[in-house]
């Protein structure tokens, strides 16, 4: 079986074959022969050579979480298309950093703004988040109005650099 995992924008190609109770995992040109048991749902005990690791895995719709050696990793599936999504913030990206409520909209379509101007204020968990102009520019579109619910990653305002 071949699986790709995406973690922090990197993709990991892994092969695993099962023969009886042994698993043969190949990653980065190294083969790991391991024995494994699922002790409770999602809780694995894996013997890698002399070492025993215990990991906890939970599965969501869009991601898996792995807890192992005291660290947590969130991984996503890689789409078959092979098109890797990159989620790095671009200079002009004004997506909401948080799910919350729009408490104030400072601008309207057509306004000109200066770099650093506050465009929108979003409130979540009793804290305020400010959306500021990333550069001097002109407002093309305002996607939300006051009191709107906004989700993390949704684009707040579109600005053309001037």
């Amino acid at each position: 079986m071949f699986i790709n995992y995406e973690h922090e924008n990197n993709v990991y190609n892994v092969t695993i074959e099962r023969r009886e109770n042994k698993y043969f995992v190949t990653y980065d040109n190294t083969e790991y022969r391991v024995e494994a048991e699922e002790i409770k749902p999602g809780q694995l005990k894996i013997k890698i050579g002399d070492r025993i690791i215990k990991s906890i895995i939970t599965e969501g719709d869009k991601e898996k979480y792995v807890f192992v050696d005291g660290a947590v990793f969130k991984v996503k599936p890689v789409e078959l298309t092979g098109k890797k999504r990159t989620k790095k913030k671009e200079e002009g990206d004004l997506s909401s950093p948080i799910s919350g409520k729009v408490v104030s909209v400072k601008i309207k379509k057509g306004d000109t703004v200066k770099k650093g101007d506050i465009l929108m204020v979003i409130e979540a968990m009793k804290m305020e988040y400010l959306i500021r102009a990333p550069y001097d520019g002109k407002i093309d579109k305002v996607n939300f109005k006051e009191k709107d619910q906004i989700e993390i990653g949704q684009n707040t305002v579109e600005v053309t650099k001037t």
Binding site: Y12, R18, Y23, G42, S55, V72, P77, P97, Y129
Partner: protein, 501 residues
């Protein structure tokens, strides 16, 4: 003795208070909003009342609703916990007016201490040192900017009604002063319904050290030593410890006396905390008094052996403080870490979602004050604190080791948390040496990114084994049946691919 307490709060502090009541054979009433229907505090209480709409103002801040529930259930007292209505003098007054005991100080004292300006003026008069600043009535931007320029930079803009870093701004130069004042006012208005601010000198290399107070209704006041709370992000404490690594026997005595004097000056009753700022030369200044049980109260409980929540109930019942200052013993060392649903590598942004797994470490002198459970939905309605992990041991070094051990075994999956970050803070060389100020996080973790930048081999193996175990043969769909060695297969909901070996 009080017979039935309505707990006007949620999460770990509601759980903490309900347990204290039950051990004292006091009946408990929990209140809950729709999203908290199955929360631990609801499971634990003897009776429960539904608040409906989870919006804070409609639920845990809704005074008429809460008073009505208390009356309907026959509660003779209300415990406000911390946050929400804990420092709302109107709420305390309404309780008194309808003959329900508010577990905390009098509305007058809450009101005075809630007004940071009036509080400072009172303390200045009482001879407790305060930080230079502007605490005046002129609240127009122009006057405030003028006063700010007089104090000099850096300075702090603080909401008079604020707390926990809300409505607070540091201003480094006159250019951003007005904007900061406006923003602080706006946040204060939204959080506390009051936009009065004050300005004060910003102290370099400051430590935040506070003293726990217990005062009965018969004039007896004691302090239960200090808590060092300098490790903060966004002006909110995340790691607290006691004793403070900088404390000396003499300073403890002086600050303890000042703390008791603070409480005396206002006729304080019940549990409270006097917060001081301590500078590099160990000068200390009164900052504010928190008129409630503090988030970090467990570290005091672990080092003194005193149960503060139970004493709150005893004092509110009119009992005398039988604890004497000279009999109190500060023993060993305790640390608390606040576990938040937030992403430390992305500006500590709160994270929402469903907790797919919660499993917490246990062991001698490990206390986990928690309000979460596997399957719980973390919503944007309330504070993103998930739990408080507290440890104690014979000395600071062992407590740090114990905390790192416990954090390494603290499993919360489904949202981003600060667990790895806390572990890095505790393991930092300067923290270990006790060289901490309120700038610690900014100084050493400014651009901290998660240490788990790449998948570990153990994680890769775990995932692959898990997926292999949970993939039924019929779920593996071959995309090119003609080629039996094709790398393209389909595993359950997960699309898989990769080069052949």
């Amino acid at each position: 003795m009080i017979k039935k307490v309505l707990v006007a709060n949620r999460g770990e502090i509601a759980v903490r208070i309900i347990k204290a009541c039950q051990e004292m054979n006091i009946k408990t009433v929990a209140i809950y909003s729709d999203v908290d229907k199955n929360a631990p505090h609801v499971q634990l209480a003897d009776e429960t009342c539904s608040l409906g709409d989870p919006t804070p103002i409609e639920s845990y801040l809704n005074i008429p609703k809460i008073i009505k529930f208390a009356q309907e259930t026959g509660a003779d007292a209300i415990h406000p916990g911390y946050g929400f209505l804990a420092e709302n003098p109107d709420f305390a007054k309404t309780c008194n007016d309808v003959g329900i005991k508010f577990i905390g100080p009098s509305p007058k004292v809450i009101s005075l201490m809630g007004d940071k300006i009036a509080a400072k003026k009172t303390m200045e008069k009482a001879g407790v040192p305060v930080i230079p600043g502007y605490h005046g009535d002129k609240q127009d931007n122009k006057s405030l900017v003028k006063e700010g320029k007089k104090i000099g930079f850096p300075l702090l803009v603080k909401a008079a009604a604020g707390g926990g870093g809300k409505g607070m701004r540091i201003v480094h130069s006159k250019e951003t002063l007005e904007e900061s004042i406006e923003s602080a006012k706006r946040e204060s208005k939204s959080s506390f319904g009051n936009d009065t601010v004050f300005l004060e000198k910003y102290i370099d290399k400051p430590r935040h050290i506070e003293f726990q107070i217990l005062a009965d209704e018969h004039g007896n006041i004691i302090h239960l030593f200090e808590r060092e709370c300098s490790i903060q992000r966004r002006h909110q404490k995340i790691v607290e410890e006691t004793p403070s690594p900088v404390m000396t026997k003499e300073l403890r005595k002086k600050m303890g006396i000042a703390a008791v004097k603070t409480a005396e000056a206002v006729g304080y009753t019940n549990a409270g905390t006097v917060e001081f700022m301590v500078d590099g030369d160990l000068n200390f200044y009164f900052m504010e008094m928190n008129t409630r049980l503090q988030v970090e109260h467990p570290i005091t409980e672990m080092t003194t052996g005193i149960d503060l929540a139970k004493w709150q109930l005893k004092i509110a019942s009119g009992q005398k403080l039988t604890l004497k200052q000279k009999d109190l013993i500060q023993r060993g060392h305790a640390i608390e870490c606040r576990i938040y649903a937030e992403d430390p590598s992305n500006g500590f942004l709160p994270s929402v979602g469903k907790l797919s797994k919660v499993e917490t470490p246990t062991g001698p002198n490990i206390r986990d004050d928690t309000g979460i459970y596997t399957g719980m939905e973390i919503t944007p309605y309330y504070d993103p604190m998930l739990s408080k992990l507290v440890v104690s041991s014979e000395n600071r070094e062992e407590s740090i080791n114990k905390m790192i051990w416990a954090l390494s075994r603290y499993v919360v999956l489904g949202v981003a948390t600060n667990v790895s970050f806390l572990k890095k803070v505790l393991g930092h060389g300067e923290f270990k040496k006790g060289n901490i100020t309120t700038h610690f996080i900014d100084d050493y973790f400014k651009d901290w990114a998660t240490s788990e930048k790449s998948l570990s081999v153990d994680a890769i193996i775990s995932l692959a084994v898990y997926d292999s175990m949970h993939t039924k043969k019929q779920e593996i769909v071959r995309y090119k049946e003609a080629d039996p060695h094709s790398p393209w297969k389909h595993v359950g909901r997960w699309r898989v691919g990769g080069k052949g070996v």
